[in-house]
Symmetry: C2
């Protein structure tokens, strides 16, 4: 049975035009216009999210929208870029509903306002397959000031924002929750929420470009992402595992099941900022992070060499060889 569906133009006018920014030209053209700030470089990033891989079918449409935008704004933040806008590409499965789309657009509009990242344009197609979204985000940074991941220097301190491992534990709550019996409802809720709702650290962008020597966002797990950044910079790192910031809920989970520390350090979806900072900048960097309400933890130090980063705890050393297991 074929259901009468509205045209793409009417979908755009009803759901997306109301949340679009000025450069979107009312989403009535083929393209968006962006007038860059004079003396600024653009930073561009794209991330695709696929149902069953990056979110689950039962996730609320607004949460999926927020995640799709949040993971891209997180990339911009790590590069020291202020969001300028985004484009959305949406491949809808055959059984999409107008209710689903209305909730998706509402969540997208809310996240867009919260992250100061307006919708500039998009494309909506139908596909006989899982829901697939792709967001391209555009940011701006004073010319030459983009923060790279290739420029960490021996002697720099390694910092991370917020807390690590919550999202991976939040996802695990859904599938194998026996270890979570000791956690309160609120603690479980906190972990689940961190998986569903990334909190991009866009308010740290200005401080990063002033003080960090290198940065990336933590999306594939702290250990693997640190290894990537160190390899890209041609250096190593030593991390004090007990300095890695855990939330109360994560600490309790790890206390009850010590093996979960590996999940916390290697699991994905943190969307915190991992950065290296010359020692002399550390105080100013901390003050600026405080001013925008973002917690910073120093977890280690950059060292010479090409070995995988070392994680030290209780006199033991551990190297996580994560990259080589991430097969495609």
């Amino acid at each position: 049975m074929s259901v009468q569906r509205p045209s793409e133009d009417s979908l755009i006018a009803r759901f997306f035009a109301p949340i679009a920014g000025e450069g979107a030209l009312g989403l009535k053209d083929d393209a968006a216009r962006l007038s860059p700030r004079p003396g600024h470089d653009l930073v561009l990033t794209v991330d695709a999210l696929v149902e069953h891989v990056h979110f689950l079918p039962e996730d609320a449409p607004g949460s999926i929208a927020r995640k799709a935008l949040g993971v891209n704004v997180s990339d911009l933040a790590a590069k020291g870029a202020d969001p300028a806008g985004f484009l959305l590409s949406l491949a809808l499965p055959d059984d999409w509903t107008e209710n689903w789309l209305a909730e998706f657009a509402a969540g997208l509009g809310e996240a867009s306002r919260e992250f100061s990242c307006p919708l500039l344009g998009g494309d909506t197609v139908k596909a006989r397959g899982p829901l697939t979204l792709s967001v391209t985000a555009v940011g701006q940074v004073p010319a030459g000031r983009m923060v790279l991941r290739t420029t960490a220097k021996p002697g720099d301190v390694v910092c991370v924002t917020g807390t690590i491992g919550d999202a991976a534990l939040g996802l695990k709550l859904r599938t194998a929750p026996a270890w979570a019996d000791g956690l309160s409802r609120e603690e479980q809720g906190h972990l689940a929420d961190r998986y569903l709702h990334p909190r991009p650290r866009h308010r740290l962008a200005a401080a990063l470009r002033r003080h960090a020597s290198a940065a990336m966002d933590v999306s594939d797990g702290l250990a693997g992402d640190l290894a990537k950044m160190m390899r890209a910079s041609g250096v190593g790192a030593v991390v004090e595992t007990d300095q890695v910031p855990l939330s109360g809920a994560a600490a309790k989970a790890v206390w009850a099941s010590p093996d979960l520390v590996d999940l916390a350090l290697t699991g994905g979806d943190d969307y915190e900022i991992l950065c290296t900072v010359p020692e002399k900048n550390l105080d100013s960097f901390r003050k600026e992070a405080d001013r925008v309400g973002i917690t910073l933890s120093v977890i280690g130090r950059v060292v010479s060499g090409h070995d995988l980063p070392v994680f030290r705890i209780n006199g033991l050393e551990r190297r996580y060889d994560v990259g080589s297991y991430q097969h495609f």
Copy 2:
């Protein structure tokens, strides 16, 4: 049986880094950098392509890549923008092969050089579904000179580049080729090629921004796209159907089966430029088009009013109400 697959990083290094532009930073970072030309606006566009919808599984990987980039460069061209680069989001089905990806990347690199549109970044994910690609293209235009689709004026002439209908006939060749018996092998080849390989008119961008009052690319059929542009501009249009430029192959097909003229006028995938030009600019516009080797045809005129465009032939008038049938 699970096959050992390379990591995403090694895929990127092998297949995509060699075709990437300077701003891609070797595809080793989370984001690309683009230093916009001073005094220029950016034009941004995104188009998604899904297997079975926008291309067929048996299409050559290089053709799919070229189409994904070409349709976006076509959008930029219609806005008067010179390509600056693109980002690719690629959702690969479970059964992808390295051979497929190598051919895809080779075709993408070739198209990227031909269209002067370097690869800036991307994301590759796996999805249990059809191959889905999304390309975001970025162009540049002198500030305030983006060509819109909302600014056609009564009295302007309506022009179109190249030839119309070839791609729709090329697609139809694959499914119901009885009408094509009278066409030579070369003629059939021409039509098939126009479906597979869009020829974006990026070399016309400078002339469009100097001379056109409004423009868009023809992707959903001439009749429907003209109706969209006229509606967006709050005007109507009269088209002389026999002035719509057909290739030799298309003309022969329409001669043999006159009903095919409707397919030529309403079928998609032309990727020509449809524009309106003030009469006084027409000579200069033609000269500049000639200089870059692009054929222009004047097919009608913009008129006052809000009716659907009229297509006139042999004293008969026809209005194609295409938009309302394009259900989603």
